[in-house]
Every structure is written in structure tokens, then in C-alpha cells.
Symmetry: C2
């Protein structure tokens, strides 16, 4: 088995080659990868059957994420084809100027270098992440969950062969074949070779990486998102948005977990919204005031306000004022996405200004926090930290800058 | 003594207030801080005398960094006044667009929140860092070295009083009064309150923070910088640049530590440049080939190529080609600043494209890597990592983005 150090070294060499590759060659590689996935789907499905057989004691939800079929492989291939159509961020010069000393300073966009991705069960991450990192000129080291190991290795092998056949460096895409705890630890500390780590998966995985890694990490995907219905909201709109934000896809990070309601409309509105949510199968938990108005609401514990359910559960709180809503959200949110429903311009502005989250909405569902919905074309994750990238991360967020400075003999006085 | 948790909480409250403060009020605060430094210089100098007395066993170089006088306090005050004149990055909207669903998406520039700064002996960092973080709308928690504790506390007290007298939140600037190892550890893990940590000081300090902190860190200040003299260089220019990059201020991170020379010009040029450097008091270490040409050069060890001397020492290597120079630099550099001296356009472009460092020069001294020289007005440090900020960090790099999204009832299909 190749040592992680060796994998890192190979990735760094590939990254240097990728950094100077033109856009057309990268697109050629992406199309070759897409074609290879289709051509080799039998092999990939055989590997996947093996993983599924080994994992047959796992919950059904888990097996569904792990399972591939022809349609899912076609989707992965189409994903790579659409990445080929996106514009290349590293073909961009951000700005340039002449300094006081007459130096021409150009701020270029360049790849980050080597990106490490630690992820859980979904094997489609292998193709998606490889496509995005490749298009942005980065080498990638992938480490998937042990349950998907055979599938991930099969996909990576197909992608690497496609690169080789296109005359491109196969080591741009490497999958770690050792799914042990120790290999993850080593990867998190491979500062010599890995420039950035992006964990993708549940809260447990992400927190472990954030706490352990010495390689810089981009934290993604935690979403304790709030819907706040202000006193002068359009209540029909509020119901449509709250229901959409909660139930349209409850398992994802931009789904709403909390509903705050201004006290002036609580008596009138709470029964309506409660029953709309219950009709959609949502279990409601709430504070005292909410429960006095609608007894079907079960009591919320202090812990509820900080919990991301990723399920058909929502906690409801009646707040005294817009300020109280803002304070509650800033104190309990994971700083992902929040929305206010209001017809009052000033109150909408205040909410957007004072809420400290990546995406702050007025009169729209939190479910729009998504690279595709934003028009970024594809996304590698949604950052909930403030450094480097915040909110949906597309190709641009997989790049950094470099200053190219040209003089004619300048020395510093 | 206030607990670090309490300090964090206070900083977060202040940060929320600062985030919505207008530029004029922030500038008023900066001017008040500058005036207060001058008005209270006697108190600050008394505290400084106490620190100097306690540190009298330390090396002279160290004491010089620690020592304040009227001129140095005036410089700190003028620094704050010039920060007041810089434009406010958080008054900026980067871009905006209408999404396919009709959402208006605005990408605003906002403060990072709470910035932690861990630094060593120079007490002027207290005023500089407080000024830059305040202007960019951030609260700051400062932790200086124990040798400068009384001075740092005196400066922070003066700055905080100036804020209070201006009706601004004093907790925007907090200095940790406990200089123990434990307080530093706690600070590095205060993820609940600190958004970013910026260590300022020697390599030991920075590496300790990078290795230990769970709060996101921006790594600054390591500079193993290279000057490469290509075969078709203007040799007079090369000498001027190499000497300037090495000796103009050898203790700083953008000073050159290594000199690479193309083999075709080594015999002719090496004696000239060697003697120019020796005349400026530089000790030269070199590889075999260099030593055969100039016997005064002492042998370099393998370790030399990775060492940042911060002193009048330079290691010289003769390289076979431009490619060899690029590979050597990418393998040994700290990715800070490198320069090529060449008259060949294509070779200059190749060097700039393939060198993986923050600042890559053609025909200019590495000493220009500096926020002031770049025209950023002031700098909080020079980032040698690729995430978030790379190269000189001014006010802009102390901010992040927020998406403000306004709709009219959009839900996701």
C-alpha cells in the first residue's frame, strides 16, 4: 500500500503540473472521465454490490446513500460534463496596479494546490469532488468511509485511467486505500503536502477534523437554520416559506430547524402554521408561550435551540421583538442561513445587517443556499466559517491568489 | 482576573456593535485613541520602564524591541491617525446579481468578528493591531509576551478609555492580563468566541499556534526567500537587488536568505556578487560548485536550504537550469517571496507562473512584499498560507463576506 507521505508527494507533483495546464486540456480530461464512468459502469456496480453486501446490517437510509445504479452513474458523468462547461477560475486576473515605486503588481487567481477531502458514505462525492478540484487546477486526495471503499476505489481507478489516456497526470486524483482511523489522522496532519482539508459528512466527522487537523480546514455543512415571522409579515407567504424550508428536503443543511414568531401575531398565526407543519408530518417542539397557544406542541428542552435535527422536527419560539429574534439567532445559529418574513423594509434591512450568518434572507426560503441555486454551477460544500470562503463554495472558492510583480531593477530604500 | 470565557463573551458583544457602526464613528474612535496615547505617554513609559527593569537579563536586541520612548509613542499615534484615513472595507458591496429564481443576491463585505492576536515582545503591536482590527469592524483579543505585559496593559487601558469617552464599546480592545502558557492554550481553543487567530512573532510561536489551535489560524511571517540570477540577467541589476534583498533589513521576513545562480554565468559572476555581499558583512555558505569558484564561501549543510536566518547570512547554490531553480525554490521555500533577475521575457513569465509563492518578482527586490509598499496603507502581517489571505494583509483581509438575499416569497421546487 502506498504510504500517505508518498501519496502527498505525488499529489504535489501533479498539482504543479495542473497549475500550468490550459483550460482546454482540463476540459478534455473532464470529458474523458465522464466517458470512462459510463464505459466502466459494470465494474463500478460490481464493486458497489460488494460494499452493499458487506454493509447489509446498516440502516436503510445509509444503504440508499451507498447504493449506485446506472442512473446514478449517468448523473455522475453528467456532473463532470457540466463542470467542463463552467468557466475556469484560474484563467482570471483579479486586478493589477502600478505601485508608488513603479512596480507592476498583478493579482492572479491560482489553484490552492493539494486539497484533501474526507467524506462519509456517498460514493458520488468521489466523482463530484474530483471534477471540481481538477477543473480548478488542484490535485485531490480523497478518503471516503470504509463502507464505500470498494466503490470509491473503482471510481477513482476509472477516473485516473481516463486522465492517463488523455496524457494528463493521474496523480491529480488519488483515493486512500487504507480506511483506518490512523490514515485519517495522518492525513489531517500532512501539512507538508496538503494545502486545505474539506470534510464532508455529518457533524461528528466535521468536528473531529476541525479539532484534530493541523492542515487548514474549511468547515462545512452544519445548519441550525431559522425562519423568523415578523409582526407585519404576509402570513400566507410565511406559511409557504416555513413549510418549504422545513419539509422540502429535511435531511440537508439548509433546511430550517427553528421557527421564531413575533408575539403580536403569535395568537392569531401560531395555530395556522402549526397545523400546516403537522399536516406535512412535522413534529413540533416549543417554548411555554407557544404551548399555551397550541397544546399539541410538545415541550422543547434548552438543548433543542442548538440542535440540527436533519429530520421532520422543528422547534417554535415566540419572541418579544425583532431584537430578541436577532439575539436568539446569533446566539444559537450555526451561522449558515436564516430568513425573516416581513413587509417592513427597515426591519428586513436590520435583520440582514445584524444577523451574523453566511446567507441572510428576506421573504425567501433558506433552501436556496446552494451553489446551483446561486448560479455557481456546482458546489463542493457550504462553508459555515468566515475564513476564506463563506456560504456556497464553487470553483472560485477552490482557488487562492498570487501576486506577480514585475520591475526594472527596483530596490527598497 | 477576568476569565478568558468572559473576555470572549465581551468581545463577541462588542463585535456585534462594531459590525453596525458607521465609518465616521470608527474614525472618531481611532483619533481619540491616538490623542490618548500622546496624553498618557508618561503612564505608558513608566509601565515600560518596569518591564525593561524586569527583563534586564535579556539580549540587547530583545530589549531594543521592548523599549518605548516619546518618539515611538508618537509613531504609534500617527499609525492610528493614518488608519483613520484608509477607506473602510466593510462599507463595500463586492457584487450583486439576480438569481434564476428572481432572488436579489448581494455579496457584502463584513468584519470577521473577533480576532485573536498572539504576539511577542514588541508593544507597538498592541496599538497597530487594535487600530487595524477596529477600523475593519472587528473586536480584538490581544495576548502579548510576558516581558511586555505592563506596557501592553497600560497601552490597552489608554485605548479602551479613549473608546469609552467616545461612546464606543471598550471591549472592542481587550488585553489578556494572564501571560501564562495556559491562557495561550485556552485562547487557541476558544472557538465559541474567536473567529480567527493571527500569531505574530518568531517561527517557534507561529508553529506552536498552527499546531495547537482549533480556532482557524492565519500563518504569517516565515520567509525563506530566494534571489535567482538567470543566465541572461543584467548583472549590475542582479547585484543591486541581491544586496538590497539581503542586507537592507536582514531581520525581517521578506529579506532574501538564498541566492541561486545559473551555471552559465557562475564562473564570471559569482566572485563579483560574493565580494559585494561580503563587503556588506554577509557570511556566505554554498554548495560544492560555488565553493570551487569562490573558496571564501563556507560549506552549506542540507539544513541550510530550509533555514530562515533573519541575519547577515546567505546560502549560494549554482543551478543547472531555470527548471532546476524553480524546483529547488518550490521544494525549499516557505512560499513567501522570490525574485528572478532576467532580461528574457519568456523565462521571467515561466518563473512567475511556476513558482508557488505569495509574491513572485521579476527584476525587483523581495523587500517590497509589504502592505505599505503594495499601497495597502498598513498591514497586520504577511500570510504564507493559501487560505483566505496570501501575501501582505491589509484591512480588506480582516473582513469576510455575507450574502444578503431578498425575495418576494420564493420557495424551492
Amino acid at each position: 500500500m502506498t504510504s500517505l507521505n508518498q501519496i502527498g508527494k505525488q499529489a504535489q507533483i501533479a498539482a504543479r503540473q495542473l497549475a500550468i495546464l490550459d483550460t482546454a486540456s482540463k476540459n478534455k480530461g473532464l470529458i474523458a472521465m465522464a466517458n470512462a464512468l459510463i464505459a466502466n459502469q459494470a465494474t463500478i456496480l460490481t464493486a458497489n454490490k460488494q460494499d452493499l453486501a458487506n454493509a447489509n446490517e446498516m440502516p436503510k437510509k445509509f444503504l440508499d446513500r451507498l447504493m449506485l445504479n446506472e442512473q446514478r452513474i449517468t448523473d455522475m458523468a453528467n456532473g463532470l460534463r457540466s463542470i467542463a462547461q463552467l468557466s475556469d477560475p484560474t484563467a482570471q486576473i483579479d486586478r493589477g496596479w502600478i505601485s508608488a515605486d513603479g512596480l507592476q503588481i498583478i493579482q492572479r487567481r491560482v489553484p490552492l494546490g493539494v486539497i484533501g477531502i474526507i467524506f462519509e458514505a456517498r460514493p458520488n462525492v468521489t466523482a463530484d469532488a474530483a471534477g471540481l478540484t481538477f477543473k480548478s487546477g488542484n490535485a485531490v486526495i480523497l478518503r471516503g468511509g470504509k463502507e464505500a471503499l470498494q466503490t470509491n476505489l473503482a471510481i477513482a481507478k476509472v477516473l485516473r485511467e481516463a486522465l492517463t489516456q488523455s496524457g494528463l497526470p493521474a496523480d491529480a486524483i488519488q483515493m486512500i486505500a487504507d480506511p483506518s482511523h490512523q490514515s485519517a489522522q495522518e492525513m489531517m496532519n500532512l501539512t507538508q503536502y496538503i494545502d486545505v482539508l474539506i470534510p464532508r459528512g455529518g457533524r461528528g466527522l466535521i468536528q473531529r477534523v476541525v479539532k484534530t487537523a493541523t492542515v487548514p480546514v474549511i468547515e462545512t455543512g452544519a445548519g441550525n437554520c431559522h425562519v423568523y415571522v415578523d409582526r407585519d409579515a404576509d402570513l400566507e407567504m410565511a406559511t409557504a416559506i416555513a413549510v418549504n424550508a422545513k419539509v422540502q428536503r429535511p435531511s440537508v443543511c439548509n433546511a430550517a430547524e427553528k421557527l421564531l414568531i413575533h408575539k403580536d401575531i403569535a395568537k392569531q398565526y401560531l395555530p395556522t402554521i402549526t397545523h400546516a407543519l403537522i399536516d406535512h408530518g412535522v413534529q413540533l417542539r416549543g417554548d411555554e408561550t407557544a404551548r399555551e397557544i397550541v397544546p399539541e406542541i410538545i415541550p422543547a428542552t434548552a438543548e433543542d435551540w442548538d440542535t440540527e435535527y436533519n429530520d421532520l422536527i422543528m422547534a417554535v419560539k415566540v419572541v418579544d421583538s425583532l431584537d430578541a429574534a436577532i439575539t436568539h439567532i446569533n446566539d444559537h445559529s450555526t451561522h449558515h442561513s436564516e430568513t425573516i418574513i416581513t413587509n417592513n423594509l427597515e426591519r428586513g434591512r436590520k435583520f440582514q445587517e445584524q444577523i451574523d450568518s453566511a446567507c441572510v434572507y428576506v421573504n425567501a426560503s433558506t433552501r436556496f443556499t446552494d451553489g446551483g441555486m446561486f448560479g455557481f454551477g456546482a458546489e463542493i460544500g457550504i462553508s459555515t466559517q468566515k475564513l476564506h470562503a463563506r456560504g456556497p463554495m464553487g470553483l472560485h472558492q477552490l482557488t487562492t491568489i498570487k501576486y506577480e510583480i514585475t520591475g526594472n531593477g527596483q530596490v527598497r530604500k
